[in-house]
């Protein structure tokens, strides 16, 4: 990463002492952090609040209903060779998303090593993983809709189940879909060499591209995986 030129010649202290001097240094606060990366992090913090509000609303809704909550391990069971396996599809979705998170982490690593081919292929693999995930989610939604799950009621139990399910998984699925679109765009940009030889100018900007953009994209993608960890725990397993 081409680090912030302002920090050249300054001794950076580690730990909390470093935090105090970074914060009070009357210049860039996040030393050596690309502005795009800092902005992505701040966006992700705000997105964390959005998802937290959904999950807290779900906690409140599920906790306050006197009607029995549908048993997720039965509702999301899938027949494999005639035997109902609890949460099979959800487990597969979890593994697909973790796989794509791993390929993304490696793409970031190869990007910084200026290994254009490996970086591009790994981003493409990540995009295909994300696409698989969205496909499985479409299947899950259509299965539940056929079984009569609606935002206002369902045949399994408490009426609130459907609205929380569609809202939370739908919002997460939207994030995955947007991520997949950007992964394909960035796979193209990497293969086309937009980050090679000093970088090519991006869209709507005169700034030159840099492999740090792959790390920023990676932050978003890992965040999508991170949110799924919480949804998996609270919505499907609880």
């Amino acid at each position: 990463m081409s680090s912030d030129p302002k920090i050249d010649g300054f001794e950076l202290k580690p730990g909390f002492r470093g935090m105090a001097s970074d914060t009070g240094s009357d210049q860039t606060m996040f030393k050596g952090v690309h502005w795009g990366k800092a902005m992505m992090w701040i966006f992700l913090v705000s997105d964390t609040f959005v998802f937290s509000c959904f999950l807290i609303a779900y906690m409140k809704g599920r906790g306050s209903t006197p009607v029995e909550w549908p048993n997720p391990s039965e509702v999301f069971a899938l027949d494999a060779f005639g035997v109902p396996v609890p949460l099979l599809l959800i487990a597969l979705m979890t593994f697909v998303l973790i796989t794509s998170s791993g390929t993304m982490a490696l793409a970031v690593k190869y990007g910084y090593e200026k290994n254009r081919k490996m970086c591009g292929w790994l981003i493409l693999a990540t995009a295909i993983g994300g696409l698989t995930f969205v496909g499985m989610q479409v299947y899950e939604w259509s299965k539940l809709i056929h079984e009569g799950v609606r935002p206002w009621g369902n045949p399994f139990g408490a009426a609130q189940f459907g609205s929380f399910f569609f809202m939370i998984t739908g919002f997460h699925g939207t994030h995955v879909s947007i991520g997949v679109i950007f992964l394909f765009i960035y796979a193209y940009k990497v293969f086309a060499g937009h980050y090679e030889n000093g970088g090519k100018r991006g869209w709507f900007t005169t700034m030159k591209g840099d492999y740090v953009e792959i790390e920023i994209l990676g932050l978003y993608w890992h965040f999508v995986d991170l949110v799924w960890v919480f949804i998996f725990a609270f919505f499907y397993l609880w």
Binding site: M1, F10, L12, D22, F30, M59, S101
Partner: protein, 119 residues
């Protein structure tokens, strides 16, 4: 000049721009194993406190590994890490508030729907 070289060497370490492939593969493998374990919690139909504590344990471990290593927070400077993590305490407060709230709503509903209120 020697001094600047030393600093840029240090920057490389703290920025964590490129790490050995081993660390990523390790974390990747651990995430698979932890996901498998959390799926097993449902498979064996653990119930009650055991179920909830296991779910939370695996969830926080997975989230921590993703944030620390895949999202590079372990290698970031504290100025960034602290700005990102302290706001999460607000979420924790909100969870406690709403937990108290849902218990109140539940008790009120039980009281009026099933007991019929204070006649």
């Amino acid at each position: 000049m020697d001094n600047t070289d030393q600093i840029s060497e240090k920057e490389k370490k703290t920025e964590g721009s490129s790490h050995k492939i081993g660390i990523y593969l390790w974390i990747w493998g651990l995430l698979f194993v932890l996901s498998f374990f959390s799926y097993m919690v449902d498979w064996y139909q653990f119930q009650g406190m055991l179920r909830w504590s296991l779910i939370l344990f695996f969830m926080f471990l997975k989230a921590g590994l993703i944030m620390a290593f895949f999202m590079h927070l372990f290698w970031e400077r504290y100025a960034l890490v602290n700005v990102l993590l302290w706001p999460m305490t607000a979420i924790a407060c909100f969870i406690f508030l709403m937990a108290a709230e849902f218990q109140y709503t539940f008790i009120t509903r039980m009281f009026y729907f099933f007991v019929g209120g204070a006649a």
